[in-house]
């Protein structure tokens, strides 16, 4: 596929910017973990292109997002800042997802129509369907995106959501970020059949796309968004991506992935691949790269500074917002 015509140079650079921003931010978080400053983190590394290509296809000032824990690039493009994320990994009071109540990467942000999610996988899928139903009922043009991993689609809840959406032809898009693993369980022990083929059974369009190629993802997503926006119902997009980090900072992936496999995965690094491609097309130069990296690093440093100095949650707020009336619930 020729890149020309599909996106402008500025748009291509925007994609690259967010991929790189996500990558650098993620790396920083893992450094903080290794330095003992962050007890737990997950990673978006390897999924950046799939997410950036996806986000660009939406009207992010109108559309809704029900993401999962790897979707750092998605939520950055939907509006959150690196500072938001650093506040969250440090579990500070002002972090926007949960005020420090949830683990990091449990995104949720009312400002940007990112619906708060939880840890049990795949529960967000039916939330997205409900948002889509409500949006249509209120005559909004909004489209809803929900995502999850390749293992998570095997939860019953995901199925129920897909069937509901298919039956009512709702404006919702199911993105599956297939990195071939659910923690240690490989695809072959996890999933019967091909993921994108599940769409057929729900009566909507399904497609598999190379998730290391943001443009291929963008193109399929654009089609999907158009279908959704014009009443043609849901789409399932399966993006094949490499998992470049262990499942989480708690995981030791050498117990189940050989060195060779890990090397192969690194060859699919979407940030490097896309950078090369931009360079090949004359859209990016080493000087620009260095300037951008420096800019990002500086902004991350400032954000980290801010986040580190921010207050931890006050234990006295522990009972707040259980109900609207916020009655003090005490441990008696």
């Amino acid at each position: 596929m020729s890149d020309e015509g599909l996106l402008t140079k500025e748009e291509l650079q925007q994609i690259y910017y967010f991929m790189l921003l996500g990558r650098k931010l993620d790396e920083l978080v893992w450094q903080l973990n290794r330095a003992g400053k962050v007890p737990f983190a997950v990673s978006c590394q390897g999924h950046e292109a799939a997410q950036a290509g996806t986000a660009l296809a939406f009207k992010r000032e109108l559309d809704w997002l029900c993401p999962y824990y790897r979707d750092l690039v998605l939520v950055l493009m939907w509006g959150q800042s690196p500072r938001d994320h650093l506040l969250s990994v440090l579990a500070k009071a002002e972090e926007p997802n949960s005020a420090g109540r949830q683990m990091p990467s449990h995104f949720g942000d009312r400002r940007y129509r990112i619906l708060s999610g939880s840890s049990p996988v795949a529960t967000q899928a039916s939330h997205a369907v409900g948002l889509a139903y409500a949006a249509r009922m209120k005559k909004s043009e909004a489209v809803v995106l929900t995502s999850c991993g390749d293992g998570s689609i095997n939860q019953g809840e995901w199925h129920e959501a897909c069937n509901f959406a298919g039956t009512h032809r709702l404006p919702v898009i199911f993105l599956v970020e297939n990195n071939g693993y659910a923690i240690s369980v490989p695809y072959t022990k996890q999933t019967g059949g091909q993921i994108f083929n599940r769409a057929i059974g729900y009566g909507f369009h399904g497609v598999q796309v190379d998730g290391t190629d943001p443009l291929a993802v963008y193109q399929e997503m654009r089609n999907a968004v158009q279908r959704a926006r014009t009443g043609e119902g849901p789409t399932l997009v399966e993006a094949k991506v490499p998992r470049l980090k262990p499942h989480s900072t708690d995981d030791d992936e050498r117990l189940y992935r050989g060195e060779q496999e890990l090397m192969q995965a690194r060859e699919l690094d979407p940030v490097l691949l896309f950078k090369k491609r931009l360079e090949g097309q004359g859209f990016w130069q080493e000087a620009e790269e260095q300037a951008l990296v420096a800019k990002i690093q500086l902004s991350l440093k400032e954000a980290l500074n801010y986040a580190e100095q921010a207050d931890a949650p006050d234990p006295n707020t522990i009972a707040k917002h259980l109900f609207a009336e916020s009655a003090a619930v005490t441990s008696k």
Partner: protein, 328 residues
């Protein structure tokens, strides 16, 4: 003031709320064209359209998850779970999502929805169409659980639930639907508040705390023992979570003896929590051990008639327990 059955009172409340607020919508299995397997939503789809009174696929998890999404968008969903017995596929959504959305987002999001659940036995429902399920939800922070026994309470509590800012599990006893008929003030804005128990009978000798269908059996038992000059003070909880602790303690203080009666299993049923509150906070009021009366510790009601009858609480058994406690 009209005489309404428990089911008609619920239906009326639903119709009024759909009329009042166009953001209210009903979703569930068979609730549309058929009007529900119990006919609670009869006529509502014809009046308010298939978008606002919608037949869903057979998937309780999705019903609740979709309702959450709709609530997050700003609507007021009223979801129906066809039988309480079939709420388990949705319990992950209810406990992990619905009950927790406000708390986990530090108040940024909320989840105002009503989950209507026909529950309870005595209807030849067998092991899977008879269950009480309140024990699974009354200990879940973030959920309110309501279980009216009378048409007026059903009407007033349902309207309160629809207007509530947080999720409410609304338990409708199936056997009450057509059995319980009473005067109901409708079209009123005098809603029954969530969280308030009500003294349904004033007495001196013993306090009984109950709710749902069992409450009516207690009334009958109270009438039986009234002939023997035993007077029963009866508290109808109406809301099961959060419990009206003050009303419970006041009721116990009234007589110093307390019997808790519910249809749910004794072990694990709400009675344990109630006794614990009384023992912890009202110990000085007690002049005899508190006592629970409930279903046997078996997996719900068997189907065959003699077995079902053996399972259900009868007024004679309650009356016998009252006599024992009063005379002790």
């Amino acid at each position: 003031m009209a005489k309404l059955s428990y089911i008609a009172a619920i239906q009326q409340a639903l119709a009024e709320e759909l009329e009042r607020d166009e953001d209210v919508l009903i979703l569930g299995e068979d609730v549309g064209q058929l009007g529900g397997v119990f006919r609670v939503t009869e006529g509502l789809q014809a009046k308010f359209g298939a978008e606002r009174v919608m037949d869903t696929p057979l998937a309780e998890g999705a019903i609740i998850g979709v309702a959450l999404g709709a609530a997050a968008y700003g609507l007021k969903p009223i979801a129906e779970i066809q039988f309480a017995d079939f709420i388990f596929p949705a319990i992950n959504q209810l406990i992990s999502e619905v009950a927790r959305l406000r708390y986990r987002s530090f108040g940024a999001w909320s989840c105002p929805m009503v989950v209507r659940v026909p529950y309870g036995g005595g209807v030849h429902g067998g092991l899977y169409h008879s269950q009480c399920i309140e024990q699974f939800f009354c200990g879940v922070p973030g959920l309110k659980v309501v279980a009216p026994a009378t048409p007026q309470d059903a009407y007033g509590l349902l309207k309160s639930a629809v207007r509530a800012k947080d999720p409410v599990l609304f338990l409708e006893h199936k056997k009450c639907y057509r059995l319980i008929v009473d005067e109901v003030v409708t079209q009123c804005e005098q809603l029954v508040p969530i969280g308030k128990a009500e003294v349904k009978r004033v007495g001196e000798d013993i306090t009984i705390i109950s709710y749902g269908l069992a409450m009516h059996e207690v009334v009958k038992a109270a009438e039986l023992v009234a002939e023997e000059d035993i007077s029963v003070h009866l508290l109808d909880l109406r809301t099961l979570a959060p419990l009206d602790r003050q009303a419970i303690l006041d009721a116990v203080a009234k007589t110093g003896k307390v019997l808790i009666v519910h249809e749910d299993n004794v072990t694990g049923g709400l009675g344990g929590e109630i006794v614990a509150i009384i023992a912890e906070e009202g110990f000085m009021f007690l002049d005899a051990p508190p006592k629970r009366l409930g279903g046997p510790n078996l997996p719900a009601m068997p189907y065959s008639k003699p077995l079902e009858e053996g399972f259900m609480l009868r007024k004679e058994v309650i009356a016998e327990e009252i006599r024992r406690l009063v005379r002790a």
